[in-house]
């Protein structure tokens, strides 16, 4: 029998005897006989060595970033992760613990959540942050729900340059009621189309949801737009890449009411897009409406400083159908990763990584713009991603040929936007050296020549 099961045959028979039965079957007489099954049609168990071999073989069938040089981004990014992060996550005391409901038995988790909340609030420029949502997309959808509830209105404006999966998730989350979702286009430079926005912005709007850097990698200035949004009593929800906040203003600093996004850039491997962590930060006015868990500082019976889950009256385990959100399990361990990552980086490291990303993508953008047959699509400032158009060779041809160079050369933008069938979304982070980027540029030159 499995090495994960401590009961011996003797234990089992002794325990059954203690229970006054002769066989296990007698314990489950409440289960109607015609519902019982005698066997499962799944393979026999494998020993650890066989299992390791089999699983490793599956892993090795994939091409990872060790095999290919990747320029893929679009909401999931390859970043350097300091060794300390994985080592702290691998502490059994952290990863095999439950949600910290019993404060006395969970001070470790609770304090790290408090530290995470502190650092995420600082990075985004908001007043407070929850302990995490599932991912960036579902956090954004929950922000839409919060805004609808808070304003008691029924319309949401969404920037069309918000990540397509995020827009789709908002759509799915809101489809249970008669809410209206209106998409706002982008302008030539890649910024939100202000004319269309102003035409749509009225007192029925609960929130405008925008992204910066947006899906095309363009960093936007929403300061004036936020004022307009506030004038009609709506909320501004900003989806941001947290690592960009090392260099660019955080959403709280230009007036956003809710900052959400994907925290994967903060020390979490890509892992095919999950598990990572959605973050959710708000201004004080929305404190009692934020979804998910919050850790707060207090004192104990003896006056010692300590931490506990707080403002739980918002949550489903107390409020049931009246709760603002149904979230229970979140992405706590990845919030711990972000916490350790941000502690290790500090303000200097975060700035440095952010600047490196910016300079690296800027260099790549400039070099690629000089390649014959390529042009940069949007002129706005970018962070670590940008869009190029291939005028002569199809995107699928480019991608096919890049395989020979062992390069994943960007995301086919036509997958998400039919008007960009001839475009690639390209990302460069601190994982690439100048030589790496030059290799990519040279490969593109060869392919397009």
């Amino acid at each position: 029998m499995s090495n994960w099961l401590p009961l011996t045959e003797t234990d089992r028979s002794e325990m059954l005897k203690e229970l006054g039965v002769d066989s296990f079957e007698q314990l489950i007489e409440f289960v109607p006989k015609d519902l019982r099954i005698s066997d499962l049609n799944i393979p026999d168990g494998l020993n650890e060595l066989e299992l390791m071999r089999k699983t490793k073989a599956l892993a090795q069938t994939n091409q990872s970033t060790s095999d290919f040089m990747s320029y893929l981004g679009a909401g999931c990014y390859e970043h350097f992760i300091p060794s300390i992060v994985n080592h702290m996550l691998s502490r059994g005391e952290f990863y095999t613990a439950y949600t910290p409901y019993q404060a006395e038995a969970s001070q470790g988790t609770l304090q790290t959540i408090f530290e995470y909340q502190s650092m995420m609030s600082e990075l985004t420029g908001m007043d407070l942050s929850n302990a995490s949502n599932y991912d960036g997309a579902s956090a954004t959808a929950e922000a839409a729900l919060l805004a609808l509830r808070h304003t008691r209105r029924n319309k949401i404006l969404v920037s069309k340059s918000l990540h397509p999966d995020y827009r789709s998730t908002i759509q799915t989350y809101l489809s249970g009621d008669d809410y209206v979702i209106e998409e706002i286009n982008w302008s030539e430079k890649g910024f939100l189309d202000q004319t269309q926005l102003l035409a749509s912005l009225d007192k029925e709007v609960a929130a405008l949801i925008v992204q910066t850097p947006n899906f095309f990698g363009v960093v936007e200035d929403f300061e004036k737009i936020t004022e307009k949004v506030h004038e009609v009593g709506a909320l501004l929800v900003a989806a941001v890449n947290p690592i960009s906040c090392g260099l660019f203003k955080g959403p709280g600093q230009w007036g956003a009411d809710i900052a959400v996004g994907e925290g994967q850039s903060l020390g979490v491997p890509m892992a095919l897009g999950g598990p990572a962590l959605g973050f959710f930060a708000v201004k004080k006015a929305l404190m009692r409406k934020i979804p998910g868990r919050l850790a707060g500082m207090t004192t104990d019976r003896n006056g010692n400083r300590c931490f506990t889950l707080t403002l739980q009256a918002r949550e489903q385990h107390i409020r049931r159908e009246k709760a603002g959100s149904n979230i229970c399990t979140n992405q706590a361990l990845l919030a711990l990763a972000a916490c350790v990552y941000l502690s290790a980086m500090g303000k200097e490291g975060v700035r440095k990584v952010s600047e490196y990303n910016f300079r690296s993508a800027l260099y790549l953008k400039e070099q690629l713009s000089k390649v014959k047959g390529l042009e940069i699509v949007f002129s706005g400032t970018s962070f670590n991603e940008f869009v190029i158009r291939s005028k002569n060779v199809s995107v699928s041809d480019i991608q096919k040929q890049l395989k020979d160079f062992k390069i994943f050369g960007g995301v086919d933008l036509g997958r998400f936007y039919s008007e960009f069938k001839d475009c690639l979304l390209i990302c460069a982070t601190e994982t690439k050296t100048k030589e790496d980027l030059d290799k990519f540029v040279n490969a593109m030159k060869q392919i397009l020549s």
Binding site: M1, W4, L5, R12, E18, F30, G45, T55, K56, L58, N62, T65, C76, E78, G92, T96, Y98, P100, E104, A105, S106, T109, Q111, E115, S118, E122, Y134, S138, D165, T169, T172, S175, L247, G250, A271, L272, G274, P275, M287, G296, R301, T308, L309, T310, Q312, Q316, H317, A323, N326, C328, T329, N330, A332, L333, S343, G346, F358, S360, T381, F408
Partner: protein
């Protein structure tokens, strides 16, 4: 043990650093020449500056302030705190699983796609369902997905008046919350004197406005809903659907299948039954399985296989859409795959058998001292009540806190809501008889203490770094960040210490 561990901020000192990063060899011109001033951030951000050895000690010290499955017996009912196998952790960290991007070409992802496809096949077989989406990130996310499927199903049939979702009064809080979040009207079904769904009450509530019934089986009291065949018939007769909350699937592996019981939709908590770690609150995974008639509405994409080649199936015209970005909590799915592959069909069966034996053994051993409200054998968990102790002024919360002194994590308390002074105990199959016997001994000691010095128990625990945090103060003047803390120090008033325990806990 230090009672107070400094905040990482309090370790910070200008000039220290915890990172080692490459130098940029790109354009080195002044950043202010490259970034418009209106967008640029002031570099003075309040993040700590701490060296790596200090950080390691800080976080390891904090970890040691936790109870965990690796260090303690953790009989937290409804949460299935079983052992988290170490090979799972190794596998999820393989380069070929950890360092792959969701938008890579399909031919570069065949290994992980096969794993996901095979995991889906196993889950179908274990539950008796026809297809699974692996996208939901947690149980509640799966429930929300389920509610969306219910709505799509009825509306596709032109059946527009199905506004009611029924949940038993013993259900998890997420059930009514998920239904309400998606705009359904929640109707509560009473439990009968046997701790099961009151069939007569259920029948009086259902009609052509019934969208579905959400049911946990075995239910949150640890009892098998033995009327399930009548329940399913009643619901289906009025055109409703039956939703299975899989939080308690650990009781049924290889014994019975929700699909055979007539459930139309099932979610599983891979972080419960399938051993993926709880991570201090997450991540989990809540795959949702459906019967044939609901497949057209599943979220996109699904994994498809043709002649040994795997691809993403995005072509699901009636799909409810996306529940999140990309594909799911893949690292969690890898762990569950490894778990199933190791145990195989015999092992999985043994898992549920041992879980049931362990729970019944504990129940039998403590029921003389702690009231067990419903007679008969339980499944993988049971609810006991601190009723006798309540008469002495000792509450479930006091017993829970006192258990911590003995190195045992508290059971789930004050849940389900229909049982007074509830303590929900779930030992799981990965605990030895010796551990169970020790638990019994401790519970009996506490029962004695409740008689001898009831007042003292209000102050438990005595041996941990902290005892009884002031919840009222935490909620009245919330300090949620280091910034709040510094502000509060500037206007520090005296504080009243409350001895009330933590409220309801439920997985």
């Amino acid at each position: 043990m230090n009672k107070e561990t400094p905040l990482v901020y309090e370790l910070s000192q200008e000039g220290k650093k915890g990172f080692s990063l490459p130098h940029s060899h790109f354009d080195s011109s002044d950043i202010s020449k490259l970034v418009p001033e209106s967008l640029m951030r002031d570099p003075e951000m309040d993040l700590p500056s701490v060296s790596e050895p200090e950080l390691v000690r800080h976080y390891v010290n904090l970890s040691q302030k936790n109870f965990s499955v690796d260090t303690n017996f953790y009989p937290l009912g409804s949460c299935t705190m079983k052992y988290n196998p170490k090979i799972n952790e190794d596998a999820a960290r393989f380069d070929g699983f950890a360092n792959i991007h969701p938008l890579q070409p399909e031919d570069s992802l065949q290994g992980i796609m096969k794993l996901l496809f095979d995991l889906e096949s196993s889950l179908k077989e274990i539950t008796g369902m026809d297809r699974f989406t692996l996208q939901p990130a947690a149980g509640a996310h799966g429930e929300l997905c389920g509610m969306m499927l219910v709505k799509s199903y009825h509306e596709a049939r032109g059946d527009m008046k199905r506004k009611n979702v029924l949940v038993p009064d013993s259900s998890h809080g997420t059930n009514p919350a998920s239904a309400a979040l998606f705009g359904f009207n929640v109707v509560e079904v009473k439990s009968d004197e046997r701790g099961r769904v009151d069939l007569a009450h259920l029948k009086s509530l259902i009609n052509d406005e019934t969208a579905c019934l959400m049911l946990t089986n075995p239910n949150t009291i640890g009892l098998f809903e033995d009327d399930i065949q009548q329940i399913q018939k009643a619901i289906h007769d009025v055109g409703g659907l039956l939703y299975y909350d899989g939080a308690n699937m650990n009781a049924l592996l290889g014994i019975a299948r929700p699909g055979d019981m007539g459930f139309d939709i099932v979610h599983l908590n891979l972080h419960k039954t399938f051993s993926t770690p709880h991570g201090g609150g997450g991540p989990g995974a809540g795959p949702v399985g459906v019967k044939k008639h609901l497949i057209p509405y599943l979220p996109t994409p699904l994994v498809k296989e043709e002649k040994g080649v795997y691809s993403w199936d995005e072509d699901i015209p009636d799909s409810i859409g996306k529940l999140r970005a990309f594909l799911g909590n893949i690292g969690v799915l890898v762990r569950a795959y490894v778990y199933i592959a190791h145990l195989g069909r015999e092992g999985l069966k043994q898992v549920s058998q041992d879980a049931i034996i362990n729970a019944n053994y504990l129940k039998k051993k403590i029921e003389e001292h702690f009231t067990v409200p419903f007679p008969g054998f339980c499944m993988h968990e049971f609810v006991a009540q601190a009723v006798k102790q309540n008469d002495l002024g000792v509450h479930a919360t006091d017993i829970a806190k006192r258990l911590l002194d003995f190195g045992i994590h508290a059971p789930t308390i004050y849940f389900p809501l229909i049982v007074a002074e509830a303590m929900m105990i779930e030992p799981t199959e990965t605990e030895s008889k010796a551990t169970l016997d020790q638990f019994v001994k401790v519970m009996l000691t506490i029962a004695d203490e409740a008689v001898e010095f009831p007042e003292r128990l209000h102050e438990a625990p005595f041996t941990l770094a902290i005892s009884r945090p002031d919840e009222v103060k935490a909620a009245r003047n919330p300090i949620l960040t280091y910034k709040d803390y510094r502000a509060s120090k500037d206007n520090n008033g005296s504080s009243s210490i409350s001895t009330t325990g933590v409220p309801v806990h439920a997985g």
